[in-house]
Symmetry: C2
Subunit: 169 residues, 2 copies
């Protein structure tokens, strides 16, 4: 089954977990070391005839550095028993902490990307960046800039082509 | 129920219809006249803490002119009996043809936007553009530029905040 067809089996659960507890964005730098970051925003669907997962990463983040180096990511839908790991991944930086050591989470490389595929996840997406856009603050409504970009620490929007969706890793 | 919660009830059906037959993008210009266009691409999810529907419109399109004038749109999920209307809306331009006259489709204004809400649709999204980005061809992979942008007629990516989702209009 193509990833385009496959996405319809998983998008609803993915959206609900993103909305309620967050997802784990996996990345890897040119040194091969993987990292994780908790995300609560993301878009899914079809763009350029491809299944796409769009994620947003602030330029100050360690994950941003890794995505710029490598252009690949995974989106890991955490299981219900992984809420502590999500908390840790959302409040520490991969610059200072090895999040896999800290959380005890196990991982393997993706089939199509070097970014980490987390074991124990009900759903994992492997994605390659095919387009990106640095959010231009002057294009956003002023109230949104005030609410989200007080520190002028804008996001890069990464459009990832979904190459593979894993079920129950 | 908030639109963020609500989206999880409708996104799967919306994705499936988009993938299989296309959706109808409704827009309205400063003269108040509505227009429709068939789309097969779109992303849904959460961005800037808001429920978002992202659509792509080529700069040559009449809908592009209307979105630039008005910054509002609707995404109408057509019913099964509307495939002929989708065909017409996908192959004619609102510059030359009144698509409502041609298709016989009935519409009303949205509650939050002036863009047309189509009667007979199982699901309709009312959206206001909160961010947009002109696709930069040099950022895309070369094979994708060749496949989609031979004529250098690029898309603007419109991020619409979902203000309201209608069911069974």
């Amino acid at each position: 089954m193509s990833a385009l067809e496959n996405l319809s089996r998983y998008m609803l659960e993915t959206y609900n977990v993103m909305k309620d507890t967050g997802l784990l964005l996996g990345s890897v730098g040119s040194d091969g070391k993987p990292n994780l970051m908790t995300i609560g925003w993301g878009l899914m669907g079809i763009m350029w005839r491809k299944p796409v997962f769009l994620v947003a990463v602030r330029v100050s983040r360690y994950t941003h550095k890794l995505l710029e180096e490598n252009g690949e990511f995974t989106v890991n839908v955490p299981g219900k028993d992984m809420s502590e790991a999500c908390e840790i991944c959302g409040t520490t930086s991969g610059r200072e902490v090895d999040k896999f050591e800290r959380t005890g989470l196990k991982w393997r490389r993706g089939e199509f990307v070097r970014a980490p595929v987390l074991e124990g996840c009900p759903i994992v997406y492997e994605c390659r960046v095919i387009y990106k856009d640095n959010v231009e603050l002057q294009t956003l409504p002023e109230d949104l800039v005030k609410a989200v970009y007080q520190r002028r620490d804008w996001h890069t929007l990464y459009y990832g082509e979904i190459l593979k969706i894993h079920e129950r890793i």
